[in-house]
Each structure stands twice: as structure tokens, then as C-alpha cells.
Symmetry: C2
Subunit: 200 residues, 2 copies
């Protein structure tokens, strides 16, 4: 059986959100599965010295325009959140906590969290809102809320972020196929071709 | 007659080089012409606080890999130059000096300069080498060499760079179609679609 594709993303990354809407279907087309792996870009930027996109002069305003245009092209509902970017600790910890209990549900939770933030303008950096979104999918709200403050959930996320950085993940979305890295929602066409051909 | 497409690029930008190999054909497909506009990213980075790609931790190594892979996909000869990045003052001044005398020749000179740097590993930041490349196309070598140190050529380039920054150009390649901006060689597909449809 072929390796899963690794899909790294930050819950506060709009290009990660765009890619998240396409990656499963793209992988399935080539009989692959996808391992969703939320990370925290804040930790990465400490190493690379990069800044969040919207804060960069000129590039920030372009990005807002490009995002809206790309979302329309992707056919994905998108509205730049009122509070953007935000820290993605709560949704990321929630994701791994659910993943360790029900992988299929974790995928659905990731999609619901991304949608809540980038389509419905709900601030998922707030643990209460993250818990509400997950509870709606059947996750036990009380258990999850408690888990979000648990040192184990903190450690779980930290080890995932550290492993991603160790692997060279510096942005979102970042996809790895059999060791080959692809950065950006604008690499989906190359990913498609790579999966079809095995590389060039 | 439809407006020309503005194609901004830095002679030291490999993604600019990749786009340069496609942009004329792409525009012609939609009955458009292209105004080639070399700029100096160094001047832009002073405003945006960005760093040259290869110097950014993690992102720099990825970019080298992505460039080689994208060049193969584009079918464009590419070798990361021994000295990279370099200041693009000489080739840019040469371009505008030729442009003001023979626009068609300026285009050919730009293509030859890009090819010299990214396919043949010749350091076009050296005015001697820039002059050699242009002389081979029939440009008067002595006149051009003198012009490269002329305050008029310096001022000509500076006003182009200032105008580009004023317009929001923060990277290379950067294409503007009837006011609509597109950044990156990976936006060629969107450019194609925009030219075909008039926008979405």
C-alpha cells in the first residue's frame, strides 16, 4: 500500500484552508490517503525570521487580494476573518486529541474548524469556540475542554511541531509525498502531476 | 487595441526567469503584448523588510529544490548560478538604455541576459559580461559600456524602480493586467485564465 501524503497546515493559514478543501480528493484520485498534521507557524517563524503575511508591507495587501481571487477560483467559501491571524493552539491541540481517539472524526473536525474560521468568521483561537465546533460533531465537550489545558495535549502538539520543523516544514500548506516537499496551495497542480507520474 | 501586460522582474530572480520564458507566448495567445520592466528587488526589500530567498532558513533550501523541479516542468534550461543572488544594476540599466533606442532588441537582450545568468552561469552583475551579452546581439559595445556609468541611465532605472514600488510591486515576477496584479511564476495559470475570461 502506498504511503500516506503528509499535509502540514496551520489553522490560521488561509492558503492552508484553500488546500484543505482539495487535498483529500486529489490524493484519492491517485489511490492515496492523507495524514493531516496541524502545526504552529509562530514556532517556525521564530527560526526562519519570517513575519505573518498580513503584516508585511505591500505583500500583505496583495495577499488579501490574491486570497479572495484564489478562493473564488477554487470555488471555496472564504471571508478574511475579523481577527487575523490568530494563534492556532486550541484547534491544533483539539485535533490531535481527537485523532488519538477517532482518526476519521479528527479529519472532520479539522474541516469544520477551518470552515468556522475562514467561512463563518468564528474565532477558533478561543478554546470555547473550538470546543463548540467539535461538540457539534459529537465530540464530548467537557472532556475536550479539559484536555485542551492538559499538559499531555500541550506536549503532543509540541512534539508534532518540533518534528515538522526537523523535517524542514517552514510554511502552510506544506505537503510531503514520499519525501518530496511541496509548499503552497499553488503547488496542487505539481502534486497532482507528481502523484500521477512519480516525479520528473 | 488592448493594453500591454506589464511584466516586472529582477534579473537575479530565478522565478522571474522561469516566467520570462512563457509570458510572451501566453500574452500572444490572447492577442496581448508584454511590456518588460526590470526592477531591483534590493530596493523593494528595504521597504518590505524581506530577505533574498536563499538566505532564509529552511525556505532557502526548499526554494533551490522547487526551482530545479519547476524549471524541469517548464522545460526551461536552469542551473543555479555559482554567485547567487547578484545585484542586477548593470543588466537593468542596459535594458532600459537599449529599450529607448530599439524596443524589439531590448526584449531580445533581456532574454539573452537571463539565459546567460540562469542557464550558462555567467555573472551578469559584471558590466563587462552584460556588455558582452548585448554586443553579441548587435548592440554597440563601447556606447553601451559608457552608458552603464552615465547618470542618465542610473536615473532612468531609479525612476522605473520607484514607479514599480509606487504601484505595489514587491516581488518577481509580478504581472499587472489592466490593473489586476499577479505575483509569482505559479500564477501563470491564473494569468492565462484572466486573459481568457476578463476576470472572475
Amino acid at each position: 500500500m502506498a504511503n500516506a501524503i503528509d499535509f502540514y497546515f496551520d489553522f490560521s493559514s488561509p492558503y492552508g484552508y484553500l488546500a484543505s478543501a482539495k487535498i483529500d480528493e486529489l490524493a484519492a484520485k491517485h489511490a492515496r490517503t492523507v495524514a493531516w498534521r496541524p502545526i504552529l507557524l509562530g514556532a517556525v517563524f521564530k527560526i526562519t525570521g519570517q513575519q505573518p503575511l498580513p503584516t508585511i508591507p505591500m505583500k500583505g495587501s496583495y495577499a488579501k487580494h490574491d486570497l479572495a481571487r484564489s478562493a473564488r477560483l477554487f470555488g471555496v467559501p472564504f471571508k478574511l476573518p475579523s481577527k487575523f491571524p490568530v494563534g492556532a493552539t486550541a484547534p491544533s491541540r483539539a485535533f490531535y486529541w481527537i485523532l488519538d481517539r477517532d482518526p476519521g472524526l479528527a479529519r472532520k473536525a479539522a474541516q469544520a474548524l477551518y470552515h468556522a474560521y475562514f467561512a463563518d468568521d468564528r474565532d477558533i483561537s478561543n478554546p470555547e469556540i473550538t470546543a463548540n465546533v467539535c461538540a457539534k460533531l459529537g465530540v464530548d465537550r467537557a472532556e475536550l475542554t479539559q484536555a485542551l489545558n492538559d499538559p499531555a495535549a500541550k506536549e503532543r502538539l509540541k512534539s508534532e511541531v518540533d518534528a515538522a520543523i526537523e523535517r524542514g516544514v517552514f510554511g502552510s500548506p506544506y505537503v510531503v509525498i514520499d519525501g518530496e516537499p511541496f509548499w503552497g496551495a499553488d503547488r496542487l497542480d505539481q502534486i497532482d502531476k507528481w502523484l500521477a507520474t512519480g516525479g520528473w
